[in-house]
Amino acid sequence: MTRKTKSNLQVIGMYLFIGVVFVFISYPLLWTLGLSLNPGTSLYGSTMFPENWSFVHYKWLFFDPSSDYLLWYKNTLIVATITSICSVIVVSLIAYAFSRYNFIGRKNGIYTFLLLQMFPVLMAMVALYLLLNLVNMLDTLTGLILIYIGGAIPMNVFLVKGYFDTLPRELDESAKIDGAGHFRIFFTIMLPLAKPILAVVALFNFMTPFMDFILPSIILRSPENFTLALGLFNFINEQFGNNFTRFAAGAILIAIPIAAVFLYLQRYLISGLTSGATKG
């Protein structure tokens, strides 16, 4: 076997492997798409390639008076936007302090963050429920938003602090000598330079409310306060097979915008993550 045929075989093998992975990736996604176009609502009897396909479930989600889908979309957008903005502010302030200042509790603080970021929110559910009950914020979006912001702090501070550490210290020190104040250095030098990682933080926190159903399911009680994930989950939670095509339609309408943003920003995302997480 010559060197060339060996190389060709290797390339064919690699393409084959990638092709198989492609099939495994696309099958469930296309299946969902096909299912959402079935006219019936039950999983039983629905097929991947329906003969008389229709958009009836999509229409139902948007226009049927008994559908809360648009309301859930609005709730989720509100929660996602506020969480995302507030997280970026809070996280970048803390990360700045940890990266550039010396203060009491700094070193232990980093360790604590590293430890806390590993605890799943789930373990705190009972206490969070009681706490929100105590301050009358159960079944409100405000309560949900506060928990999202607070819960995101450890992980994200860790990422952003790692990124700040890679920015040369001379920049802010020379600005300080020129007489710039603390906040001025922060807003005009640090923040613009840290845009990639802040975009990652904003994106992650924006997407969490779209993907998380467990926290809302414990905090939110009334259907008009539901977020998308919780609402959709309830579609099929009661009787698994019976609303499945409707769920599939709703799921596709969540997945498409998220996937689009994600793929559009992927380069940003990966460079931010690798520089923040591996070096930080």
Binding site: P28, F119, D165, F262, L273, T274, G280
Partner: protein, 424 residues
Amino acid sequence: MSKQKHNPMIAVTISIVPGLGQLYNRQFIKGTTFLLLTIAFVVSFYQFLNIGYWGLLTLGEIPGLDDSRVLLAQGIISLIITGFAITFYVLNLINAYKEAVKIKHGRKNDDLRKSFKDGWDKSFPYVLVGPGLFLLIFVVVFPLLYMILLAFTDYNLYNSPPKNLLNWVGFENFISLVTVPIWRSTFFSVFSWTVIWTLVATTLQIALALILAIFVNDPRIKFKKFIRTVLILPWAVPAFVTILIFAALFNNDFGAINNDILGPLFNQAIPWMTDPFWSKVALIGIQVWVGFPFVFAIFTGILQSISKDWYEAADMDGASSWQKFKSITFPQVMFATAPILIMQYAGNFNNFNIIYLFNQGGPAVRGQNAGGTDILISWVYNLTFETQNYNMAAAISIVIGLIIAGFAFYQFRRTRSFKEEGEM
């Protein structure tokens, strides 16, 4: 002469009432502020702390009137407030001493403007951290403390506030976990599956990601951008959607995998949902599907940053592809991504979503109170929200917490920034 007589010990001693030491050091504004803060603290928190500690110790005395859960919460908040107060108090003593020493050695007090500026400079990081810290304490730290304390009470379905009072029971719950037969057998079977699940699912997803990243990075492969986009797709679709879809695909009776693939091709159906072994296989497969793109994306980023010179040098020495992989690619990738990979293991250890959404940890298993595919965290969920065994759920949570702390400790030592940039 008077400066020589200035005695740091006096400053510390009278600082038992915060502020007096600073006044003695002739820092009048600082001293007055400290004094006022102390008075305000005592006045506003005395009552709260008093009730808080009483509640924490007794968990209430009159059943039906005292709600032990609320008392416990107040008790923890009292502990947190006390923690801050003590920190402040100690800092106050240190500050009084240091300033007194400076005066003794003949330093003049700064003028007002400079001391204001110094104060702002020194307190700036606290201003930055303050709001976030406040939120963090209430949303993350408080609930964790609450959970830890619950593990030492007898809070379950049969003894639940506000009708009954909770009691402190010491380590009884932990002892039951390893001595009462049903708890012991459940705990060990769930624990061993959790470990297997974490190791197998995570390792497979990392291995697949590594193979794909190396293939796609190969210079002979074309359409790189397109391939990468498709491979990242599973990451971009919300995980809960994917898992529910897989749950439908794997459905025993009308799922597509049994009906459209295994049925026509091999003429058989596999009980994915009702047989623990096949459920586990399905779960691992789904997790690999959901989890590999993230690792793949990170690996791709690292691979592109490995210097080409090394491979050229290896080529000159006549190294085979396998040797290049073993001595250059693999160590480079693993070294750079170790913290992220550890996080992947830790994440799967607590991967509640996939277990719960696929079949609620099912199928049921005789002789234990967790399902066949339950991992520790989903068992905790069941104990909390289905059977209301709050005390046992909390005890198991502490076990999870200790294991996580182990992961974290390992990561402390690995992460370079704690050795280099962590010191300032």
